[in-house]
Amino acid sequence: MNAWGSIDDDGRPRVRGLRGWWRRQPLERKLPFAFALLLTVVGAFYTAALYREVARSAGSAVEVRLEQVGREVARLAATANNQRLETMRRVVDSVGTPAALALMSNDTMPAVLLTRGLEVAEARGNPSATSLQKLLEDARLLREAGSPGVTGSLFSENGRTFFWQLASNGDADAPGYVAMRRQLNTTGDGRSAAIQTLIGETIVLIANPGDYGGPWVQLEGPEVTPASPPEPGSNRHIRSGTSYLTYTTPVSGARWVIITETPHSVVQGRAAAFATSTIPFMIGFILLGGGLAWVIGKRITRPMRVMANAALAIGSGEYHRRVSVREGGDLGMMARAFNRMAAQVERTNTALDERVRRRTEELEMVNQELQSFSYSVSHDLRSPLRSIDGFSQALLEDYGPQLDATAQDYLKRLRGGAQRMGLLIDDLLMLSRVARQPVDRTHVDMTALAHEVIAELRTDDPSRAVRIDVQEGMTAEADRGLMYVVLQNLLGNAWKFTSHEPDPMIEFGAEDHDGVTVFHVRDNGAGFDMAYANQLFVAFQRLHSNSDFKGTGIGLTTVQRVITRHGGRVWADAALGAGATFYFTVDGGVDAGEHDSAG
């Protein structure tokens, strides 16, 4: 995880929110997640389609069954009605209508004799006015159809359902029709098991056709509240708040229809149950897909991770690190390419190491030579000077009175020359030391360091009154000893070149420029012409005569050497007679320090 983390953290801008989270996830987590998501979507669509299809086919299956049951019940009802009608007609045919009425009626079962003109000739059993009304309607239809008998429409009376059966005698002379009121008996008694089996869960209703109205009676049950007028064939209706699939069949020889119905919810329930039964399968499918994707993701990311770790290892110096190639195909190709690259890096690096080692050796040799050279300079070059100076002095002291003024002057010049050369040697040694000495960076209090240098300057030349401003709290990551040399030179120069000023002023401060601390030493002294600024840091180059300001011309070269070794920069800004400002930085970064520490 660390390997990924550190790669991820490499300067890439972090995206917030869900997108950012997703981007940060490793492939082996993304892949199964994406797969599972895909399978879930596909599964959901599939299940929905399945549900619709099942619901549709279940619906048509139910419709077929409704039709079958309806037709069968209608046939049974027609048969039952026709048997009774047949009996009535046979009686009417054999005895004539009036006698038949007398024969078939009793007090509890109203019966009516109608004339051919459809007038009530005789009524028995006390039929109600409404029922008589129904009878006349039925009779009119019978007459129009010219049929010998008919089963009339349903009607309710005192909570029970009745209908008329009418039969004609077929004899044109005899008075018209005999009608008997019958009760619709739908309760289960006497109903055969065959019918029970036939209708099953289907609800069977008996009603009048079309918009004739009248009651709806449930087979095996009471009257129910009628819904919309039944139309023949497959249909739907809402009865008592429930949605039904229905089939309406006319009953032949009767003004009846058989309505078969099944609640819509039964169909939906069946489809839903089927769809539900697929859910465990779907979940299994999704898990299997996700798991498979996880395995595939692992297979892809494992070599990637191995390579990432190897790359990190190589990056941190383990150049011999390779990845083992087991896979073929793309991953194998990648691994082989990686190994080739690693080998190249190792070769290059070894070559580079070798070159650095050789260069370092050479450099060390040169350094060694330089060191013995400066040692010799330090030791051997000064001895003769000491002799020149010492014996000139001895001459002056011991033989002074015997020498004339010119001779004495010459001797003094001899001593002056020797002493100046001594200073030159000292400065040159300092320069070479600054170039060789390792840069040891620490946290340096530049303000305190400047105060030290200034105290030294004041001690060496107590006669001078120079106003010196040093900014508080200046620090630098630098070599303390070398910074001392820099300040000694820059403040020393400012001190020296303000010596002809009536009101000498020196300022040492620092400013931040884009995160880099720029130090400056400013004075109001002699300054210099910027046209010669390029000669400032060249050894032995001086912009002032030795009679105006004494110096060796090595100080600024030393400063530049120190600053360069710190990876910094030094530059100047000045005008002749208007003072000078020297700027420098030491924030060159760690690299410069590391390279230098080799010497």
Partner: protein, 145 residues
Amino acid sequence: MPANTILLVEDNPDDEVLALRALTQNKIANQVDVARDGVEALEYLFGADGNPENALPQVVLLDLKLPRVDGLEVLRRIRADERTRLLPVVVLTSSSEEQDLVESYSLGANSYIIKPVDFTQFSEAVGRLGMYWLVLNRTPSRSRP
């Protein structure tokens, strides 16, 4: 009974003359014995056959760059020997190399003085060291067996 001699170890005759002159100028009248290289200095202190002819000097003024055996080696032998372990040794050299300074002190030099080019300054330095090591400084008294 320590003799009040000064042992000056110096190979450069000019420097020797100048050092003697500076001592004289500073009115240091002690006897000055001169050894012209490291071997001579060691023979003076320990004798060629292990029996030195002279008593130990009061102070050794030691140059570092010497023929045959160099000054640092002389200093090392002085400090290694029980008899001369506490002998004051002032390194008097032209070398301003930090390395020489550090090594001298770590070998047990009592002082490290860089010979200035300017004779006036040199004379002053010699005067001061003579005043300190010959007059002011007290060393544990020891006599030769």
